[in-house]
Symmetry: C2
Subunit: 638 residues, 2 copies
């Protein structure tokens, strides 16, 4: 065993010879960035060994400058322990703290009051019909002439009160039932959930405790996990909490996590499953404690996520999702009890995962379609979710098609030299006025990097000011000294070293620009291909809903300006924030909507862009600012 | 802590001050009889303290003769430890070893080949329709044009092959499905079970393994537990094993066990539940190992037992069953998975408990009605189950009524001075010819006691030879010296001390006789009351089926002779042995029959004899040999 000290925090741990710095840090819960799951291909886990010997290795060296190598920088994932060490984790290698809710800056979670269940106009019986119902019963006590079993007495009363026919009961509800009934003078609250055409009794409690019942809506994002607690009687949101998905430590995007779950790591799947379950449990525990809610009183949970996240949540191997022909284990997930997944709500609580459409169009998109009501109205509308995978769904009450394009993590800050998520210190706004550079960071902190909305601004401002050509190549002469050559690459300095938190110039490199142009091209090409597939034009679309992590900080005009979104009246483009969470909550509050989710997932036609030949032409054409075909962007004037 | 040595085995244990000898022996798994669950009211846990001091106590003394008290006899349940002790457990206080199957003497388990599923003539679609089905599928592998999820591919193929509409899957089946399918070239065996109108997938295995699937039928008797393993494809019985219900150590009859489960013992219910689950697991393990069956391949279990046994099997508190107005927690038991009850078959295997009718008419009787086909034919028939509770069911395809009478444990050897169960050394046959006593013991061993069939013989022979009067009182003058007075009670010596295993005279006492007359009176009165209730006479009954532990060793003529069974043509009385087990197996082999069990349990009218006034008159009239009303027994000539 060797002694390791991690700076700047000074945490001391012991770790065994042969393990890597990254493995040791993960075991000790010292956070270090890792995008590729420890495979030495992303270069995000750079650390500086201040004291101790390290062996230089080829992989690490390709990510480091000569000065850095001299200064003891290594990749934590490639460096095995060979003695005691003191390790400095530089700011860019420290995962950013969750601050989503604390500062209310990044994701603008959909305002709970905005959910309109009557967005489903095709359902005439649009009553309040939650996934679980608590019913209060007052019964007479048994007599010699009426000595049916306790269970039969309850079911008889439930039939009278609800009009439903068949009931089943969970075993644990029966165990102490005799005592519960008699101690509470035959006055009880029964919580039931529908399953096929049978109602299942999940819980029986003494007295009238209807108002104690809660449900949880959960959005399991690759990057962020958000939990809402919903009061089942009123439908009101009691609280919402979110943080970064801790699976991040095993790989930053879904592909890296699939590789980790299915690769040589023996318990890879368990690590990922445990991470997300633990995270949800912690969010629930903190919300419940804050709001004075007993976790046992949370009787249901609806979770929405992409197909990989849904598999990892249910502890299913996601190993074939990324392999042609992209077949997931399941798209409709079995209903399970909370105890089956170690979720710390009522152990018999109902867990529903919103069904997926395909390997790359998941329950988050289905939930988004529920939230936007696309499948409920005759006019044709589009939902775009911008992330590492850009998903596009298109349709109306008659038909639905969808597709997904691998856009890369650029808009989430991945693969970008100083890219970061939308947290404290990220440049979120950027303009060039009269040749002067202006930026705004989140929390007005010293800049540490640049996030998605900032990158869109940059791309637009560079194009508008002719700092880059249509293909994204820097025009060095237009850079007014901010464009430099360093480490063999052209770079634009956004903020000079003295202004920044990171102690060096904060830059955008030429390859960053190319990545961004590729990403925006993939998303626009997906939208265009899907429209062409069904023979529609942009003007045929009533509304474009945009969902995704950068939400309200996204500048629509600039997004159109770089050719990410189509050039239509910005009034027809609407941000819907976290529509996945909104859809999950709608399922929780309406069994009808939950059944509709399964129906939507089944009826939606998935277009596999990788085998749809016209997509590649669209993609190539879209890798230009704003687009090779300028007629598509008449309003863009640069 | 004190040191205890138990003889004759010599087992040494340590136990703490204040616990009783019985508690200490139970903790150390040293078996000592206990009928009342340790309440000091049955006197079955007599032990002799050979070394050590004991305090005399009032309860113990009432069960012991002066000589015994002098010799150090005490009741184990009443005697608290007060120092080191050496304790001799006399033969009559040692629970008898299971030997049911080893010697094939006691219960004659229904011959598996006798089950006729077409005993259900009212079912036109009487096909082989087992509770679980294994289906072999060969599927094409996914292509870019057909890349539905693995689960959807399986369900699509299942729909084609079975014609069923809806399927659900257990979570654990999904976990490694992707690998399983691909490693087995898309050839798999799927095991499904019906639930409401959905089919649930319980297991998916590579290749064609249909022939590996087994089910278990279990009869959970208060006294005996029997397991049959059934090959699901052929319906054949692969093996059968049984032993005594180890709950016995906590109380010999259902009342004692209810008291133990609900009394001051903190984990009473757990002890009882664990005991029966462990026992069933052991029986299954030994059968599976003997027959070369993998326990994971046992996909379903149907268990039948009385209402208390069913509650204890499912770990439900049976606390209100024995209290007026006799309300059980449930009569229809939830379907659970094997893992929910720690049963060591396939963890997702389906567990079905045959529904009960009421607190004292259980699933064993419902199973018996299935096995005898009483509910399937127009002629009216009767099923009698003779045990501590005598249950009587009566009816035809149009209607069913039932009742239960507390007959006491006399016919099972309980509450009888030298009574014992039908195991090695029990007198099972007894005659008096020309004044000479003849008896036969099980295994022809030296007599240790007398069992149910022997007691019926005694009662009949005593009555026929005028050794007892009509009310059961000994006529001392007719005893030819075998009738003596000892310890203040009149006794008939069945076997003299030198012939016996127990080292003393083996006797039947006056109070034994009275207990037997009460027991037979209760059962006959129950039959008669139930017939009167529906306005029928004995001659209206096509067949009397008799089920129960003493099975084939019961002498029909003598049973009529003492007035236990009605005086009709013995051809119309038929022994059906363990009809509970037979009915459980029928449920396993036919989902139709399993649904029918629930229907029968619901449609059967339960007559509560304790509140049915005419019963008490019948009972009093029947407490005479053969009966106060001799016209009811014309063929009985003594």
């Amino acid at each position: 065993m060797y002694k390791l000290t991690f700076l700047p925090d000074g945490k001391k741990i012991e770790a065994s010879e042969g393990s890597t710095i990254l493995e040791s840090s993960q075991a000790a819960e010292v956070p270090i960035n890792s995008l590729c799951g420890g495979n030495g291909v992303c270069g995000r886990c750079r650390v500086q060994v201040a004291d101790g010997k390290v062996r230089a290795d080829a992989r690490s060296m390709s990510f480091l400058s000569k000065d850095e190598i001299k200064a003891g920088y290594v990749l934590a994932c490639q460096t095995k322990l060979d003695g005691d060490m003191e390790i400095i984790i530089p700011p860019e290698s420290i995962p950013k703290e969750p601050q989503i809710l604390l500062e209310g800056i990044q994701v603008q979670y959909s305002n709970p009051e905005k959910i309109q269940l009557h967005k489903v106009p095709t359902d005439p019986a649009n009553i309040f019909d939650p996934l679980i119902q608590s019913i209060y019963l007052e019964m007479g006590s048994p007599t010699p002439n009426d000595n049916v079993s306790d269970l039969d007495r309850i079911i008889r009363e439930l039939r009278k009160k609800t009009g439903y026919g068949s009931f089943e009961i969970c075993l644990s509800c029966l165990r102490d039932l005799a005592l519960e009934l008699r101690e509470n003078d035959w006055k009880i609250t029964v919580t039931i959930a529908r399953y096929a055409n049978v109602w299942q009794i999940l819980e029986i409690k003494g007295g009238d405790v209807i108002k104690d019942s809660y449900g949880a809506a959960v959005d399991i994002g690759t990057t962020t996990v958000v939990v809402q607690l919903v009061h089942m009687k009123s439908g009101n949101v009691a609280g919402v909490a979110g943080n970064h998905n801790p699976q991040n430590r095993y790989g930053e995007d879904v592909i890296a996590r699939m590789i980790y779950a299915c690769g040589r790591e023996e318990n890879g799947l368990s690590h990922l499953n445990n991470a997300v379950i633990k995270n949800i449990n912690e969010l629930i525990a903190s919300l419940a404690s804050e709001k004075g809610i007993n976790q046992e009183d949370i009787h249901a949970m609806v979770a929405a996520g992409n197909t990989t996240m849904s598999h990892l949540f249910m502890n299913l191997k996601p190993c074939t999702i990324r392999l042609e022909p992209y077949v997931p284990t399941a798209t409709v997930y079995p209903r399970v009890s909370a105890k089956d997944l170690n979720l710390k709500i009522n152990p018999d609580g109902l867990i529903v995962v919103v069904p997926s459409v395909s390997s790359y169009v998941g329950g988050d998109i289905v939930a988004g379609i529920l939230a936007t009501g696309i499948a409920d109205r005759p006019e044709t509308r589009v939902l775009i979710d911008v992330g590492t995978n850009g998903e596009v769904a298109l349709g109306n009450s008659e038909w639905l098609v969808c597709c997904s394009a691998s856009a890369g993590p650029a808009f989430e800050g991945g693969g970008i030299r100083h890219g970061m998520r939308a947290t404290r210190g990220a440049i979120e706004k950027f303009t060039i006025e009269n040749g002067e550079v202006h930026y705004k960071t989140i929390s007005n902190a010293k800049p540490r990097g640049i996030c998605g909305s900032g990158l869109i601004d940059c791309l637009y401002e560079f194009a508008r000011n002719q700092i880059i050509a249509g293909d994204g190549t820097f025009r060095i002469e237009a850079g007014k000294g901010r464009i430099i050559e360093k480490d063999g690459e052209t770079q634009f300095i956004l903020a000079y070293s003295p202004e920044t938190e990171i102690g060096e110039d904060l830059v955008i490199t030429q390859s960053d620009i190319y990545h961004l142009v590729q990403s925006k091209g993939a998303i626009f090409a997906a939208i265009k291909s899907l429209l062409d597939y069904v023979g529609l034009k942009f003007e045929d679309i009533a509304t474009f809903y945009v969902a995704g992590g950068f939400g309200s900080s996204l500048d629509i005009q600039k997004s159109i300006g770089i050719g990410l979104l189509p050039d239509i009246d910005p009034q027809r483009i609407q941000f819907v924030g976290n529509s996945s969470l909104m859809g999950a909550r709608m399922c929780l509050l309406s069994a009808h909507v939950a059944r509709r989710a399964a129906h939507i997932a089944r009826m939606m036609t998935n277009i596999e862009l990788s085998t749809y030949l016209p997509f590649m032409d669209e993609y190539v054409a879209a890798m230009f600012l704003p687009h090779t075909d300028r007629k598509l962007f008449p309003s863009v004037t640069y």
